[in-house]
Symmetry: C2
Subunit: 383 residues, 2 copies
């Protein structure tokens, strides 16, 4: 049905109507006092979302732009980087580091798994000469629905002395992530995820220690340069012409987030995603992430039942119920499908999604107790 489409992918995610209306306004001049006030509000609220006292830089770019910005402001040719890879997006950080001329070592696990803190500790303990300068990792691997134990991993990295660069694209503003308390050195995220606006902006904050390393970076990228961008943040301005419409929408979205409160937002994501997982199991489907401890609260990856294909499930969900769920990526294409419960998502949306998934599986001939998914979901939501 036209205009009825509902996104349950890991981004873009649903955008509140009040944010859309703000984005629809005629763009204002980016050097006006009116826009400067919007920036002041946005920059302040972002510190709350990042749980940091560091400045949060905003790039007009997608999340990958912020990943690039993170590493191209730190790495000199030949620097040793350790990349913890659990899927496509954590792999991308390793690729970027390599492209910058770093000597990249990778610790990789099978998709669906998280990094074992003991493995990281053992590797860093062996680095007695402290050659490893940067460790890259992801909090929430969008391609598999795995959440790393960033708090523990970062504490190990801190113990070693390397910088931690954390991709928080599908976690910040959804899953607990305390930049300052946990001691994360560089944290990035995107706009079309927990922050509830369309894609086009990305965000980066860096610790004092990371800023010192940045000062030694010989060829920081011009557009993503931390120094020039921070100077503008401190002037309630932007270094280059920003996507003003998205900033105006972001201001409203951040106000909504403050009103709900970050702890409540995290609790909402936890409750909805864990209830969703229980419901998925109740209708006889398997979760791709078997260890509940590492199951993401923003993205759930699901195996199709025997004899029913991922494309068929996605097609019926989309054509008959106007719900868009994501396929797997690369080697996982057609092996899993992924449901996002990220950002502007309510209990009602989870009921809708599980109800529609039941209807889809019913049509496709899957044998299960019709209604059991919704029943389990409601029970878990009301535990």
């Amino acid at each position: 049905m036209r205009d009825k489409s509902f996104l349950m992918i890991p981004g873009p995610t649903p955008v509140p109507e009040s944010v859309l209306l703000e984005i629809a306004r005629h763009p204002m001049g980016h050097r006006s006092s009116e826009f400067s006030k919007i920036l002041e509000s946005v920059y302040s609220d972002l510190k709350y979302i990042f749980q940091t006292s560091n400045d949060v830089l905003v790039y007009t770019a997608s999340g990958t732009g912020a990943m690039d910005a993170a590493l191209s402001n730190l790495i000199n040719e030949g620097d040793k980087v350790l990349s913890l890879v659990i899927g496509n997006f954590s792999q991308r950080l390793a690729k970027i580091a390599k492209g910058l001329g770093a000597d990249v070592e990778i610790i990789e696990v099978e998709p669906g798994n998280a990094i074992d803190p003991a493995v990281l500790k053992a590797r860093l303990d062996k680095d007695v000469n402290k050659e490893i300068k940067i460790v890259t990792l992801i909090q929430n691997e969008t391609s598999t629905g795995v959440t790393n134990d960033v708090k523990t991993l970062v504490s190990i990295i801190k113990g070693h002395g390397a910088l931690s660069v954390v991709d928080g694209v599908t976690s910040v503003g959804a899953i607990e992530c305390k930049m300052d308390e946990w001691g994360i050195d560089v944290l990035i995220t995107g706009s079309q995820k927990g922050l509830m606006i369309p894609p086009g902006l990305s965000f980066l904050a860096a610790s004092e220690k990371a800023w010192k390393v940045h000062e030694q970076c010989k060829r920081p990228d011009f557009y993503f340069n931390w120094t020039t961008n921070r100077k503008s943040v401190r002037d309630n301005s932007t270094a280059f012409t920003p996507a003003v419409s998205l900033f105006c929408g972001l201001k409203v979205a951040l106000e909504m987030m403050k009103e709900e409160g970050l702890e409540n937002i995290v609790a909402r994501h936890t409750k909805i995603a864990s209830a969703l997982r229980a419901a998925i199991k109740a209708i006889g489907l398997k979760l791709f992430v078997t260890d509940e401890k590492y199951a993401s609260n923003s993205i759930t990856a699901i195996l199709p039942p025997d004899g029913i294909s991922v494309p068929d499930i996605r097609k019926v969900m989309k054509n008959d119920y106007d719900i868009v769920v994501a396929n797997g990526q690369n080697a996982l294409k057609d092996k899993i499908f992924r449901m996002g419960t990220l950002g502007f998502v309510s209990e009602r949306d989870a009921i809708t999604a599980i109800g529609a998934l039941e209807a889809t599986l019913y049509k496709l001939g899957h044998k299960f107790t019709l209604g059991s998914g919704v029943a389990t979901l409601i029970e878990h939501l009301n535990k």
Copy 2:
């Protein structure tokens, strides 16, 4: 008056209502077939706007991002670059080249002037060993309202054999710019100018010759990488999550431009800007660009009359008539003000602007024949 603000700055520029409404729609999934169709249409129409058969890459980034993309995909450390500087934005290309480790030589003229083709020719003729690899230049210098004779300059660069990298941010889609016919090697532009959408996207096309040089680039930036971005263009996709809302708006804006026709668009800009310049002179104000041959048809820089300050003019224009005009930049701050007639601008807008400028100057005590600006404007528009 609330919601009455009208932008006559060099960007963001006015956005048509049908484009704003498109942008206001709920974002769609960027890997959907629906979005792929939008990309197909956008990529095809951009070739028409760029007057090229080369692929046009689209970055989710502001214009400076595309400037960065142009040079970071070509330059290796130590490469010799000649930068033709006529103001802040052409200066920026030189800065980016330096940041990439290039050996940058600058030919600079006083603000308000264009590059003399003879000076460029003399310099390139001296480069008998063909050491200069790239020449950077701007078509329309936003900070001063000067338009270089790109056709002639590029033909000289072509004769030498270096690559021409042209900043067309405030010219493409407004001022005549024929990439293939003129032999431009790299051409970039932004979204919030001639293309009539809000800021957040930027564009780059490169000649076959430039692509060959790119292949030799040792460390192209990851996010802006030409190769990965072109591959996605050819798949009617994007390398990374794009600003989907802006792309949807862009599709509509490009359709409007095709309907009007590029030649008609250029003629409209020429007519409105030249009439505006005549009107400015009729009310006793001086143009910053004295040589009409180099006067920009998208931005007009104006000197305030004796005894009246630029901030006062801008203040009355904004507070009493809700028209935003730009100040000068850096050394030109408070020395000139700049009116954009760029993109979605009609004859009616020019009448509005000159009428309001007359009213402003009348209030501020400037002595002139009231009505003479509007009269001259109308006469010139109807020549």
